[in-house]
Amino acid sequence: MNTVKKIVAVAGAAAMLASVAACGSGSDTAGGDTKEISFQTWNLKNEKYTPYFEGLIKEYEKDHPDVKIKWMDQPSDGYEDKLSTQAASGELPDIVDGGASILYSLAKAGALLNLSKEVPDAEGDYYEGAWGGATMTGNGIEEGAYGFPWYVNDGPTYWNKSLMQQCGLDPNHVPTTWDEWFAAGKTITQNCDGIYLGTTMGYNAEDLVTAGATFMNKDHSKYTFNDEAGVEQLEKFVESYKEGAIPPEALDASWSQAGDLFQRGNLVAMAGSAYSAAGFKQNAPELYKNLTVGPRITNDGRSASVSYELLGISSQSKHPDEAIDFARFVTNAKNQVEFAKQASVFPSAKGGLEDAYYQDIDDSTLEGQALKITLEQVKTGYSSRPAEFTDANGYKYFQQQIALAMQGKQTAKEALDKTVQFANERLSK
């Protein structure tokens, strides 16, 4: 009996050892002559998008029988951490999906291919702004695009018509410039208690840039947003905060909290994306009935909050040609338009925005109005946040210093000067 116990115990111990050893094992290539390409997205494997990607992969594999696409999807929470772990362990997927600031960090570490060099003709496939959004330069990075532009996102400003009326604003005339925005804040605080204008307060690059500030110099060697226009704009936000037009929680607020406040009817306006309208319809039907949309607030009529999703190619890929080919397939105009229709985003491939879908938008619904406004913004807008202004390299510090300015612990100029100094030091490292 004892012997049996010991044998079972030894087998158990061996199994545990095997399981520990198994942690490091894995295969990254399919058998035979098949070339396996790993394609990693984030937050896209779900009921809504899985059929699209499965169809896309099936179509590509049919035309390329020697290629096998392994689609992986990561949750949005901790996606950057996941990518960093993959890059550090040399297991970055062949194709990675990410925004410009995520790909910048990988490009700086030499983990991504310079696509301008690898496939010079690709530039002609995408809109100029989109290719520009993927192009990185300076601070040790060889100039070039480090990702194929994929979908583009932006969104309108949603306004609660009932609250506007209740607080002395005209729901038929939503503010579109910063002067109108700050004036609306004053009106609301004079007429309503416990109702705020919005959570916008200079936490994003576009909040300063759309008021005339220059965020960075042309060769990307220095930040410049502490210029006169930047300081003046932040002073207006500080004033607005003191008047009570911005909720105190917004100093720390995550996006979901701003959404909660808006849905609870404590916020008159909120910047959202084109697909937020569908979310309101589903989650807050009463609020949905009271909503109207306007463009993003800007002094020059151009949105500076356009964001580009990119597909980078790992420099360690065993099959870079196939990876590039598949990434170009995913981001071609036909496939981008098909995806954009489902996700209420916009294509970055040339010809995509000329698709019949975008020519005849039904603007009788809030969703249609949101889509139409965003489409115009995407056509003329740009991304004001430089790829190098990452969380670690200044963005987080920027928000912290602005919060201190809001609380009166330092002036707007001090906040921006300190941030510029901090970010410039990080830039040089």
Partner: protein, 324 residues
């Protein structure tokens, strides 16, 4: 069995017969096999745990020590920079803020963690159903996930939350109390949540210790005229002294390394302006992400290790002196 038969089966009797001893050989082989199993089995049992500890604790700790003296990032091995990281630390406003906050956390939270659960345990000891209910109720926060705790307290404490609404409705305050936006109120709110979370856990430890106190001591104290308070001070507290010291040590380590409570109350931003940063949050901020400064984060970790180690040594010295 007859005596003769019993004698014949004895090994010595077989040996004495002068015949070859195949059976004994077989027995000897089995014994050797068993012996080898007996020797190897414990090591095999320990090996998986040893490997895990060695790789994820010992090697990781040694690597942290090495990294602390380099300028490495997650994607770049970096080079030896001597004590440059430590020099930078003491010029980093967020490190100094985190050091102050974490130290304050220890000073304010530990006394409550040592005393309150003991009082609570004293109140809910016993076998009655009601006591069982209270014990479960007090222990409930321990099993809650950090996300749930964050949601509960954020909803209670924000400017439009339940507490502010009640205070305003009762006209106790005119303006909302900035529990989640004022640097100090936020820190104290997080401390309160830590105490609320820890009460049940330490209470259970105290309950075990209380069960070991001889009831006759209370009877003797009562006969001598000691009331409940005097009994608590003169019988209960000395009776659980070693447990109190254990809890003091555990809660000191936990308080200095506080992360969850501040993280969930501030959505990971460390409060307005990052002024509620704690040491663990700073390590996370610097040591994670694609641009993680692993060298710098390791230097902070080393400082945390030294500070916590020093605190524990001081507590040990005080304990020994008190015993003497």
């Amino acid at each position: 069995m007859t005596h003769a038969a019993q004698a014949a089966t004895r090994p010595e009797a077989v040996k004495a017969s002068g015949r070859p001893e195949p059976t004994n050989d077989r027995r000897g082989g089995k014994k050797n096999h068993r012996g080898a199993l007996t020797v190897i089995a414990p090591y095999l049992f320990v090996l998986p745990a040893f490997l895990v500890v060695f790789v994820f604790v010992v090697l990781a700790a040694l690597n942290t020590f090495r990294l602390a003296f380099t300028d490495s990032t997650l994607l770049r091995p970096g080079k030896f920079v001597g004590i440059a990281n430590f020099v930078e630390l003491f010029h980093d406003e967020y490190f100094l803020t985190a050091l102050l906050n974490s130290t304050l956390y220890v000073v304010c939270v530990v006394p409550f963690m040592v005393i309150l659960p003991l009082i609570l345990a004293n109140l809910v000891k016993g076998n009655g159903r009601i006591m069982g209910f209270f014990r479960t109720a007090f222990y409930m926060p321990v099993v809650m996930s950090a996300v749930v705790v964050g949601m509960i307290w954020t909803n209670l404490l924000d400017s439009q939350g339940l507490i502010n609404s009640i205070l305003k409705t009762l006209h106790i305050v005119k303006e909302s109390i900035p529990f989640l936006t004022d640097r100090w109120l936020l820190l104290f709110s997080a401390m309160f949540v830590t105490i609320w979370l820890g009460l049940g856990y330490y209470m259970v430890i105290y309950l075990t210790a209380l069960a070991n106190i001889d009831e006759s001591l209370y009877e003797a104290a009562a006969l001598d005229g000691a009331g409940p308070v005097r009994q608590f001070v003169s019988v209960t507290m000395p009776g659980v002294r070693s447990t109190m010291i254990l809890i003091m040590m555990l809660s000191t380590i936990a308080a200095f390394r506080v992360f969850n409570e501040v993280y969930v109350l501030t959505n990971g931003t460390a409060g307005p302006g990052g002024m509620d940063m704690t040491m663990s949050m700073l390590i996370k901020q610097e040591g994670t992400g694609i641009q993680a400064r692993t060298g710098y984060a390791s230097a902070i970790s080393l400082v945390v290790l030294v500070i916590v180690g020093t605190m524990l040594i001081i507590q040990q010295i005080i304990q020994k002196k008190t015993e003497e």
